[in-house]
Amino acid sequence: MATIDIDAPGTSQLFIGNEAIARGALEAGIGFAASYPGTPSSEIMGSLAPIAKKMGIYAEWSINEKVAMEAAAGASFAGIRALASMKQNGVNVVSDFLANLVIAGIGKGGLVLISCDDPSAISSSNEQDTRPIAKWLDIPLVEPGTFQEAKDMTKWLFDLAEKTGTLCMLRSVTRIAHARGNVKLGELPKKEQKAYFDQIHDLRNVMPTTFMPVPSALRHAFLHLKLDKAQEKFESSPFNYYVGPDKADLLIITCGSCWLYSQDAVKALKLEDKVGILKLGTLWPLPEKFVEKHLNKSRKILFVEEIDPFLERSVMEMVANLPADSPRPTFYGKRSKHINAYGELNPDLVIKAIASITSITYQPRDVEYGKKAEEFSKSSVPERSMTFCAGCPHRATFWAIKNALKLDGRDGIVTGDIGCYSLALGPAGFFQVRTMHCMGAGAGIANGLGKLGQFGFNQPVLAVCGDSTFFHATIPALINGIYNQSNFILVILDNNATAMTGFQPHPGTGMTAMGEPTKVVSMEALCRSLGARVEICDPFDLESTTATLLEMMAEGGGAKVAIMRRECELVRGKKEKPPYKVHVDPDKCIGEACGCDRLCTRVFLCPGLVWDKKVGKSKIDEVICTGCGVCTDICPQGAIIKEAA
């Protein structure tokens, strides 16, 4: 990772989008940053936290996005510029607070929310577009189209927030967040910051405490005035511009990474003098005058944007309000099906849309080329399905869960949650997980299932969640289960890290984002204090883990907790040598014969085990095997042998 705190104004640095955003925040002079990890947003805090101390700022991994945003608001109220960053799902978690924050207003310190969306849901449970949230909550919204803009917009947004007195939001997407580009650096502010919550004089924005509260409806009206102010700034923003001929056959209106795809497409089609691009950086409120000025560039307008038709609808709304005699262009986009209504875009898709609208035939390259390229890339990449890492404790946990549910024989159900273990929807976790929604939903759903006894429901219910997910959103659901005596077992997969997003610390790890040791919040002590029966299992001990789960299911009664405690293999592997040296004894391995039928490489599926078709035996892939030794306990023939390393 690049160092974002390099003090060299005017020089260029290679930054990923998230680092550019973090740098922008530094240049804006933030004093406070809070976040909950989530791809593709994690590197914002990931790059701020390590340098926070040195830069005299405070940075934290909060237990969830709502707390992160609220904490940042607290800093703003005391006059400190503050930032909260999160992935798209997190914005939903914060939305209740946001809806009230915008009505109340922010403090003296600028307050900015960064949302990183994930078109195509590459690392997410959905591909939700957070731009509409800014619109329905009346939050000024910008979106960078380049890495430079990612930095510059972030910095600028703090000024805007302070000038308007309202929260401002920057939306980014995976291809900006994780791609790398040149960013020209600005100055790093050197002034010291002083925090003070001025309760008498700083009531312009914060909820008054000593005065009669201003009615919310009136505050709503104030908010619209703030939006008008933001819109005015947006009209002259350098983040909005047009490239192309004065009169164009087609006008593309775009934003974010689609700006890059649109440029590529126009260039590839050699239509630079026929197709113009209106690139918007300030999206909401729409800079209507600026847009209107460019509308007459063409009779045909194509909207190029990912996920929701956000600009498309905003511009249509605006055009509907133009005087009756104004020109009415033809609109193309998601509504006309020229642009995908879901998933990421790319230059090829934009080329197709332009070609179809302008009736030109475009053959990017000969068809065979594509096929050949695909074959070639396949030949150099080994075929692997999505699975847990070799040595992952989750594989062992789900093996135990699978066997326990089968042995129990009442068709038990596993409700899932968000984390690496969501892979248990598929073969990696033996198809054990049946539901996956949002953080904490697994335990919530289990609450409902666990109360259906009166309707003859007899299926055991296990809710799985990660350790970080437990702290994030599962505790209320557990309390509900204990209070309302719902019959389920909360299985906490405690691998001592927020593993899926890059091993960020959490309250159970004893470490803060800034690398300082802190109190360990003991999940078992917490659960026991709530009155739950708590069992702690080592998932690598398959037999006793299975037995414990079986016994807990048989016991029934209210909500219980089983903690599967084993450090994430990727964390352990960095600190220690493999515990075992594992090999397969080919004389003992019977492979496909009766008595095995390739249990290890057909069902257990640890990538450290490979099936040698030629000799009809399994073997260990020594490069991948992490020496956990769990497979020695599943092999029915005792053919997998572990020796202390």
């Binding site: 699978k402 066997n403 089968k406 042995l407 024989g409 033996f430 004389d587 003992k588 019977i590 496909e592 014969a593 009766c594 008595g595 095995c596 039928d597 249990l599 057909r602 069902v603 599943i634 029915p636 023939q637 005792g638």
Partner: protein
């Protein structure tokens, strides 16, 4: 009658889910997919083989009785009510400790201890009653360990899982205390030796128990838990007729239940079982009506005969003649079990010619049904 060998899915469809499973354990232990749990054989994962040893050795899949009899006795399946026999007698242990703990005469415990001591076997697979009073299979290597198994637990126990746990390169010599269904499964293995587990030739001794029926480790166990203070129970007994009781012994006395109350917990498959006297064991042991503290013993093979000789010669067992009226009663009871089972089988198959798993010669079948 379907004589084809199939896979575990068919075992599930035709035997386990049809309540025909005896819980013998023959399909488990050598297979990672089939596992016994609380009175049921569970399939943990999908096995893709279309023919499996699980199906092949199950005592409730097609069994050619003449062929397996030929294998162990060198003659077709006997028409005698007690199967192939060399001698029928009564016996009891001379060891006070054994007599104290044993179910009746302690013949089984004595013979096993002797087989271990003489090196005929180095491991005995038998059943003991565990702390919570469920039956559990275990390995014994010494007389003291064998003594831990003394006494009957009337719930079915999948002991053949323990046999199948021995890996293919094992050279242990084994003795097994088997119920009739388990002795049948072992004989199917002797006929067509299993692969990828210990050789069936390493089973040097099968001591069979008499059995009218066994009880369900699920339902009956629930009954016991509800009706007894289980930790205090020291012994279970179903005394020979005409007692018609199930007894549980506790330090403060015997608690009896009428058999009528118990019978509903028998595992359903016992109704389809023809064998009361473990006809395929080397030596079979049961109670003796009216002669308390003794066992009825049926010697069937040379192995059984030799062991019995040795036990007598070494003074481990005392023996006597089985009174003729006892023999007559025994035969009567054994025949009754066969007839009743065949009737049930035909009721289920709906066809006089279809005896499900029982491959009997038509002549013998007709004779038994007459």
């Amino acid at each position: 009658m379907d004589t084809k060998v199939k896979g575990c899915k068919e075992l599930l469809n035709e035997v386990i889910d049809k309540d025909l499973c005896t819980l013998c354990g023959a399909c488990t232990g050598g297979c990672p997919y089939l596992v016994p749990y609380k009175g049921k054989i569970v399939l943990l994962d999908n096995c893709t083989l279309s023919e499996g040893q699980c199906y092949k050795y199950c005592p409730r899949t097609y069994t050619d009785m003449d062929a397996i009899s030929q294998q162990v006795f060198g003659v077709p399946y006997s028409e005698d009510e007690l199967g192939t026999t060399k001698e029928v007698l009564i016996a009891r242990s001379t060891d006070a400790q054994i007599k104290e703990k044993a179910q009746y005469g302690g013949t089984v415990t004595t013979l096993l201890s002797l087989a271990l001591a003489e090196g005929l076997i180095d491991n005995a697979i038998l059943t003991r009653t565990s702390e919570d009073k469920t039956p559990i299979a275990f390995l014994a290597q010494s007389a003291e360990e064998v003594l831990q198994g003394a006494g009957s637990n009337y719930m079915a126990c999948p002991i053949l899982e323990t046999y199948n746990h021995f890996l293919k390169d094992s050279n242990h010599s084994l003795g097994i205390v088997a119920m009739p269904c388990q002795a049948l499964a072992l004989t199917k293995m002797k006929k067509e030796p299993p692969e990828n587990r210990i050789s069936i030739n390493n089973v040097k001794l099968v001591i069979g128990l008499f059995c009218t029926w066994a009880l369900s480790p699920d339902g009956f166990y629930q009954f016991l838990r509800e009706n007894l203070d289980l930790p205090r129970v020291t012994k279970f007994d179903i005394p020979p007729p005409p007692a018609n009781r199930f007894d549980a012994y506790t330090p403060s006395g015997k608690i009896s239940f009428p058999l009528e109350q118990i019978r509903k917990f028998t595992i359903p498959t016992c109704a389809y079982c023809l064998d009361m006297t473990s006809e395929f064991a080397d030596i079979s042991v049961g109670s003796v009506e009216g002669i308390e503290g003794w066992n009825t013993v049926i010697i069937r093979t040379d192995v059984g005969a030799k062991l019995m000789e040795m036990a007598k010669a070494k003074g481990k067992l005392e023996t006597d003649k089985l009174p003729p009226q006892n023999l007559a009663h025994l035969k009567e009871a054994a025949l009754l079990k066969k007839k009743r089972a065949l009737k049930e089988i035909i009721k289920r198959s709906g066809d006089k010619k279809n005896l499900l798993y029982v491959g009997l010669s038509p002549a013998l079948a007709d004779k038994l049904l007459a």
